[in-house]
């Protein structure tokens, strides 16, 4: 095989572009209309109107989120300040003897100074050393600590977005996941979060957008609910504010 990887990919792309035309022309022909290049009117975009005006008060959002998250086996703590969040995390890490902790490289988390406060644990900060194999660091971690970018009360979900400072693995590979949710990021409906991705547009989207609604689960052995089969089995949502 003389071709380099790049040449091979270029060849595939050329094939793909030719085929794309055939594919689309064939679809248009089967649909019995000329190829459509103009954006069609889409009168039914998104949720029904009655739903888009539905909104919970803050107290209802907290209540709704908490109930949903608890019902799938997650844990929720309602805290006033980031100091409280820090105390909560330190306490949990000691209680469970967490040896390895990995956290996102975010200013709110840096301000907690977990590195200085968790004497018994080794705390690493995502992607701060180019020579590390970060996926493996996350895979061996007992605790992963992340900030929520958004949260949705109605479904009990938290949204995390990837970036160089925010690894996808940090919310996925550790055994225990701790998510800090500043209250102002807690919305009522899923649509309130999803619409922000339409507004941002393609170029501004991160590679990974993940909605997390509780611990990883399966019922594949005797139909028994098993928690934590791949993702974190213990998930704490800390509502702060």
């Amino acid at each position: 095989m003389a071709d380099t990887h790049k040449q091979w990919l270029e060849k595939l792309e050329a094939n793909s572009r030719t085929k794309q035309e055939q594919f689309m022309n064939d679809i248009a022909a089967k649909l019995r209309h000329p190829r459509m290049y103009e954006k069609p009117q889409h009168p039914f975009r998104g949720a029904p109107d009655f739903w888009n005006t539905f909104e919970w008060t803050e107290e209802e959002r907290i209540k709704g989120f908490t109930e949903n998250f608890l019902s799938v086996g997650g844990h929720v703590a309602r805290l006033q300040t980031m100091e409280d969040a820090k105390a909560y995390i330190v306490n949990k890490a000691e209680e469970m003897s967490a040896k390895y902790v990995v956290r996102q490289n975010e200013p709110e988390l840096a301000a907690l100074d977990l590195e200085g406060s968790l004497a018994e644990s080794q705390v690493s900060v995502w992607n701060t050393d180019a020579d590390q194999y970060w996926r493996a660091r996350a895979a061996e971690a007992d605790f992963g600590i992340v900030m929520a970018d958004h949260a949705v009360a109605y479904t009990g979900s938290v949204t995390v977005l990837s970036s160089p400072e925010k690894g996808r693995s940090v919310s996925l590979l550790p055994t225990v996941l701790i998510i800090i949710i500043p209250l102002e990021r807690l919305k009522t409906r899923l649509g309130e979060v999803l619409v922000t991705f339409d507004e941002a547009g393609r170029e501004k989207l991160p590679a990974g957008i993940h909605f997390i609604s509780g611990p990883s689960r399966s019922s594949d052995i005797e139909n028994d609910l098993t928690i934590g089969v791949h993702g974190p089995g213990i998930v704490y949502a800390l509502l702060v504010g």
């Binding site: 990887h5 091979w8 990919l9 595939l12 793909s16 085929k19 794309q20 689309m24 022309n25 679809i27 089967k30 649909l31 190829r35 459509m36 039914f44 975009r45 998104g46 949720a47 739903w51 019902s71 992607n127 970060w134 996926r135 996350a138 895979a139 009990g156 979900s157 990837s162 970036s163 160089p164 996808r168 693995s169 996925l172 899923l190 619409v195 991705f197 339409d198 547009g201 393609r202 989207l205 590679a207 990974g208 957008i209 993940h210 997390i212 609604s213 990883s216 689960r217 399966s218 019922s219 594949d220 052995i221 005797e222 139909n223 028994d224 609910l225 098993t226 089969v229 791949h230 993702g231």
Partner: protein, 509 residues
């Protein structure tokens, strides 16, 4: 009797299937649980009809303008740095996959279960070039270890109890594991973690593809689809050409309909939107991302007024759980990837082969429970009738079927006999085993919805329910709902009238 080998095999399987009380109970247990879960979830959410209608409209709109939206998706995905490929059929899709695997020098591929990959029989192909294909869904992994056919039931490993699974996994571990669910899952977690970190390629399906941003969306509960799309260097997404929706706003409707219909959940534990390979400075996510867009018979439904709506299907499995025939004998795979009412229509239609008509269609076509369950209102029951008509028209209707249909009509037409005879399951079973050969294509529900069975219902343990189920099975199934009964009678009456007036098919070009 040289010519009857296949038939003998099918019959043998049929006997096996119908005698297997354990499997039957398991299927009924799970489908019932899922069905009740759906009911609870949709009641709780409210305005379900409006949501269904909205879901239907979005799917109809997208498919009606598929050339525009698919093209938009492809251009956006490319702009995101994805290598997009097209496959007209299974061979092309397999060819592309193997080519990518070879160029990635892959020794192993970690997979999260998807229907499309089943459709392509990929594991086999990968093994032919010495690439290990590792299924990473818990149940799927167990079955693979056992060296059995990929699951023939709802929960792929349900026919194995804890003790058998412990034996299997102990062999793999090299030490003895206790027959305890948590311990077993814990071992698999550790074992598969090594596989995720080792594998050169991760492979997933795709629940939805967002045209306006070129993103692909995955719904799941275990987290293995996230693993597969985050950890390995190369990621391949297999995507049916109809998976498109226009925007993230439209995803709210799909995310409202899909998990509630599939498992009764408000949302699956994970919903991920992936937009291209990892960014330059990201420390995880794949370096190289491929999306293979697959036709494999789907485009045949485009422009066909009777079947185009099949492309609206969001693969939730609700029609399977609603189907009395599937509930009763379901869960036994007889070679087809897609099962239940949707499978009965989709399989022959995907294969371009109307002759592959089977008994489940006869039974389901008159009942309509599948339509009522469907979150995007696909008129499956009508399609089953169309399909049958086409088959008869093309001369493929067998005599046995004609008789069977008559018998069915007789039963249906005489309402006084309904009460006694129409205990749904019995009827279903009769139709299916009629002529002593099972021809149904009742495939696995497992894999149908990849995030699968995770009942979020009030805890009633498997074992608690077991005895009751046993009783129920012995007593036969519950009486048919009156509304369903009326509908069936009405349909038979209409059909008889049509036949008398010599009305055959109506306008299928």
């Amino acid at each position: 009797m040289a010519g009857s080998k296949t038939e003998a095999t099918v019959k043998a399987r049929a006997d096996l299937a119908l005698n297997d009380e354990f499997l039957r109970k398991a299927v009924r247990f799970t489908t019932e649980r899922l069905r009740n879960g759906k009911k609870k979830a949709t009641d709780e959410h409210g305005n379900w009809e409006e949501w269904r209608e909205r879901g239907k409209q979005i799917r109809l709109h997208t498919i009606a303008h598929l050339d525009y939206y698919l093209n938009l998706f492809v251009n956006n995905a490319r702009a995101n740095g994805v290598h997009v490929h097209f496959a007209n059929n299974a061979e092309e899709a397999v060819g592309l996959t193997l080519d990518i695997a070879e160029h990635a020098n892959a020794k192993s591929v970690v997979k999260s279960k998807s229907m499309v990959s089943e459709e392509l029989h990929l594991n086999h192909a990968l093994e032919s070039i010495n690439v290990e294909a590792v299924e990473t869904d818990l149940g799927e992994y167990i079955i693979q270890l056992a060296g059995e056919m990929p699951s023939h039931i709802v929960i792929p490993a349900i026919h194995k109890n804890r003790y058998q699974i412990a034996d299997l996994l102990s062999k793999e571990a090299g030490y003895t594991l206790p027959p305890d669910t948590t311990a077993l899952a814990g071992f698999v977690r550790k074992k598969l973690r090594e596989k995720f970190l080792e594998a050169e390629i991760g492979m997933t399906g795709c629940n939805f593809a967002i045209a306006e941003t070129g993103s692909m969306v995955l719904f799941e509960n275990e987290g293995n689809a996230r693993m597969v799309s985050t950890v390995p260097k190369t990621q391949i997404t297999l995507m049916g050409m109809e998976r498109i929706i226009p925007s993230w706003s439209d995803l709210e409707v799909m995310a409202t309909l899909l998990p509630r219909s599939a498992t009764g959940q408000k949302l699956t534990m994970y919903m991920s939107g992936i937009t291209g390979p990892r960014r330059d400075k990201d420390a995880d996510g794949p370096d190289e991302m491929h999306i293979i867009i697959i036709d494999n018979g789907r485009s045949l439904q485009l422009g066909d007024p009777e079947f185009q709506e099949l492309l609206n299907c969001i693969r939730c499995g609700a029609c399977l759980n609603a189907c009395p025939v599937y509930r009763h004998i379901g869960g036994h795979a007889y070679g087809s990837t897609y099962s239940g009412p949707i499978g009965a229509v989709l399989t022959p239609s995907l294969n371009k082969n109307i002759a592959e008509w089977d008994d489940i269609a006869n039974a389901s076509s008159l009942c309509g429970a599948c339509y009522e369950a469907c979150p995007v209102k696909i008129p499956l029951h009508d399609m089953l009738v169309y399909l049958r008509r086409r088959k008869v028209e093309s001369g493929n209707g067998s005599k046995i079927e004609a008789i069977g249909m008559q018998g069915f009509a007789t039963v249906m037409g005489n309402s006084s006999r309904l009460g006694g005879v129409l205990r749904l399951g019995k009827l279903g079973q009769k139709l299916v085993v009629r002529s002593g050969v099972i021809k149904t294509k009742l495939g696995p529900l497992k894999g149908w919805n990849t995030y699968r069975v995770t009942p979020s219902l009030p805890k009633e343990s498997f074992r608690d329910r077991w005895d009751t189920l046993d009783q129920e099975l012995k007593q036969g199934l519950k009486q048919m709902e009156p509304s369903m009964q009326n509908r069936m009678e009405e349909l038979v009456r209409k059909r008889e009238q049509d036949e008398k007036q010599g009305k055959g098919g109506h306008g299928h070009g």
